[in-house]
């Protein structure tokens, strides 16, 4: 058997196994395990998680939120305690499957795609989507007026699907619930469509924002448990029934100002909405249907990394030269810049640039912020690489050039820099490849590049594995030619002199 055939077979076997084996990993029943252990593990994302579950502003070591109250009630009925497990919202379902916790409850909408992976309890809340605009907005009066507008929402939500169905809407995907409203207030986007509880908590108190039209769409939040934990799910259903009958659930919702007429229908919705088979369209779709979206993401990645590298090269050179040849004040400014940018995480720099600067009246577009953020960060690293390269050029080179009557800058440009560049080239290449991969960080400022495209697609189809392989391949296909190019360049420079 040829080596290539064997590799392909292995890959196929891995794909098949990864799809089949996962649900069978947990032999013991969840219910039995929870009782024995004495506590229930609850998967939840508390980052920007109000009013669902979030750290109490008065005592951040404590979690509060309507789901915290609900989880407490359920655990009490089970006769155990509840322990929240922090997990990124995007990947609550895979983490549940992996066995990180027994229930995932965090405003997870019951959808056919998700039902193909997990079991849902009967609904514990009926959500609607609320459109929010700026106070002075006149054109967008309701959901029907969104064509051609920039609308923000959360990744992997029902609202995202609704927006994509309209067509012609520029959908901006965020991973936290605070940021879309921030961007709306500063005018970076025109509207935000999100679940009503989120709008009620974050947008209603904001004097710059207002609701546009009635809530639209309707769906259910359900508690997710692993496939195979049917008995456990039935127990949860029974407990939810009790909480509704006794009025406790209503009291919780009233406390959080979430109770409305719609919720009265919860009582009638007394079965899990499974039973009808999920369409599983996206789950069965061949991989190439995702290719256009992924390639678009890849293009954004290429644009961001080349633009920011160009900035890093120019700014880095200026910094290196200031640091070596500048006067004392210039030198210390350059050194301070380099230390500050190298000594703080890129993530924080991006946050400050994008969400912090609007506080002092500077509002950058996501692309500008991404390029500036990456470019200014990498300039610090480039500067040090250049400095090392320049300082590795023997002093005699500069002296020989000066003794021929050249000025300092001419000598630098014609004699020292070309040699320093050759010395620095391997490090520069390395840096560019690193920047290329770091460009995935800009997804936190609403840039949908390749990595973000992947997480959006993977979350909505739950095909983390195959899509992950495709995306990894795409990244490699872009960075490998870069290494080759650099090696060719190095060889050519090597040909020219020692």
């Amino acid at each position: 058997m040829s080596r290539i055939r064997r590799i392909i077979l292995c890959a196929v076997a891995f794909l098949v196994l990864s799809g089949v084996v996962v649900p069978c990993l947990h032999a013991e029943s969840a219910l039995g395990m929870i009782r024995k252990r004495g506590y229930l593990l609850w998967g939840v994302d508390v980052e920007g998680g109000a009013p669902y579950a979030f750290p109490d502003p008065r005592d951040p070591s404590k979690l509060i939120g309507f789901e915290v109250d609900l989880a407490g009630a359920i655990a009490r009925e089970l006769g155990v305690e509840v322990r929240p497990v922090q997990n990124a919202w995007d990947s609550l379902i895979p983490a549940l499957e992996r066995g990180d916790f027994e229930i995932a409850m965090n405003g997870i909408e019951i959808t056919p795609q998700r039902e193909s992976r997990v079991l849902f309890s009967r609904p514990y809340y009926i959500y609607t989507e609320q459109l929010v605009v700026r106070k002075e907005e006149a054109a967008i009066t309701d959901f029907g007026k969104l064509k051609g507008k920039r609308v923000g929402t959360l990744s992997g939500t029902a609202a995202q699907t609704m927006l994509e169905k309209i067509g012609g809407v520029e959908v901006r995907i965020y991973s936290g619930q605070v940021e879309p409203y921030e961007d709306l207030a500063t005018g970076r986007i025109d509207a935000v469509l999100l679940d009503l509880p989120i709008a009620a908590y974050y947008a209603r108190p904001n004097p710059k924002l207002r609701y546009a039209g009635e809530p639209v769409g309707e769906g259910f939040y359900g508690i997710a448990v692993r496939k195979g934990d049917g008995e456990f799910r039935d127990r949860i259903n029974a407990i939810l029934g009790t909480l509704m009958q006794s009025g406790e659930l209503k009291r919780i919702y009233e406390k959080w100002e979430l109770w409305d007429k719609t919720q009265e229908r919860l009582l009638k919705q007394n079965t899990s909405p499974d039973g009808y088979v999920g369409l599983e369209e996206s789950r069965k779709a061949p991989l190439y249907t995702f290719l256009p979206a992924l390639l678009k993401g890849a293009a954004v990645t290429v644009i961001i990394s080349t633009a920011s590298m160009a900035l890093a090269v120019v700014l880095g050179l200026a910094l290196a030269l200031s640091r070596i040849f500048g006067g004392a004040p210039v030198r210390s400014v350059a050194a301070a810049y380099i230390e500050a940018y190298r000594g703080t995480p890129l993530l924080i720099q991006l946050f400050i640039l994008y969400y912090g600067l609007p506080n002092i009246g500077i509002s950058l577009s996501p692309l500008t912020a991404a390029v500036l953020g990456l470019g200014m960060n990498y300039a610090a690293y480039e500067a040090e690489i250049y400095r090392a390269g320049i300082e590795a050029v023997p002093r005699g080179q500069m002296e020989a050039a000066l003794s021929l009557g050249m000025g300092r800058s001419l000598a630098l440009r014609r004699v020292v820099l070309p040699q320093g560049f050759k010395i620095a080239l391997p490090a520069i290449t390395n840096d560019f490849i690193a920047l290329f991969k770091d460009s995935s960080l800009v997804s936190i400022i609403a840039m949908v590049e390749l990595a973000k495209t992947y997480s959006i697609l993977a979350v909505s189809t739950l095909r983390f594995f195959e899509l992950g392989l495709v995306v990894a391949l795409l990244y490699f296909a872009m960075s490998y030619p870069l290494s080759l190019l650099a090696r060719r360049l190095e060889d050519r420079l090597k040909g020219a002199g020692k």
Binding site: A400, L402, M406
Partner: protein, 251 residues
């Protein structure tokens, strides 16, 4: 041509020159000898402005190096410095050819960039120089492809391409294998015969004896003796000269 008066030079705490005087007249060949660390290189580097000095005067064909402000040079100061360096060529112990340029590019670079010659004129000038030192077939080679002797000859040609009025040589043969010393010294002798003003630091005593008009003996930052080679090598007056010569000539 070159006048050094009462030169004081310190490296930090180390006070090297405490008042040095030297005059090199037009067309004269002056050779500096003396133990390592006695200050020969420092004097040459002061003369073409690679080192600055604390006190004293250096006059190069009418240009006063001592009136340049080296701490905060103005535009005019930079220009004066460049003018001095165009008048005075320098050859280094380690050649300092530009490794990323061919021999031709090494030689043509400054005439084009500094004197504003066209590429063609500069190339002709370079080829003529290379022909004179028998290196024309190496024009397209990189320095790393040349022998040490060839590299130093190319470096001399590079300095000559600026048509300097005087040349400084800082131990031009000290990093060469013995069999290549001769070819470099031959080029320098040729130059001397053509009437080039030269100030040379070297350990080649035979060369000093044959080519020098005057020999300057350095010791610990002082000029011990200046005289004709004949007198220095046969009837030195200073004790330190005798000591130095007895040490180098015994080898």
């Amino acid at each position: 041509m070159i006048t050094v008066k009462d030169l004081h030079k310190s490296y930090g705490e180390l006070r090297l020159f405490k008042g040095i005087d030297l005059v090199v007249r037009k067309g004269e060949v002056v050779v500096c000898i003396g133990p390592s660390g006695s200050g020969k290189s420092t004097l040459l580097r002061c003369i073409n402005g690679l080192e600055f000095f604390q006190q004293g005067e250096i006059d190069i064909g009418g240009i006063e190096l001592h009136s340049i402000n080296r701490v905060r040079p103005s535009r005019a100061d930079d220009e004066t410095l460049r003018k001095v360096r165009r008048k005075v060529g320098m050859v280094f112990q380690h050649f300092n050819l530009f490794p990323h340029m061919t021999v031709l590019e090494n030689i043509a670079e400054a005439p084009v960039r500094v004197l504003g010659l066209s590429g063609k004129e500069a190339e002709e000038r370079a080829r003529a120089l290379l022909r004179r030192i028998n290196l024309e077939e190496k024009v397209r080679r990189y320095p790393s492809e040349l022998s040490g002797g060839e590299q130093q000859r190319a470096a001399i040609a590079r300095a000559l391409a600026m048509r300097p009025e005087a040349m400084l040589f800082d131990e031009p043969t000290s990093s060469l294998d013995p069999e290549m010393v001769g070819e470099v010294l031959a080029v320098m002798k040729g130059l001397a015969q053509e009437g080039m003003t030269m100030l040379i630091a070297t350990h080649e005593m035979d060369f000093a004896r044959e080519a020098a008009d005057r020999v300057v003996v350095f010791d610990r930052g002082e000029i011990v003796e200046i005289d004709t080679p004949e007198r220095i090598f046969t009837r030195p007056r200073a004790e330190r000269t005798k000591l130095f010569l007895s040490r180098v000539l015994r080898r």
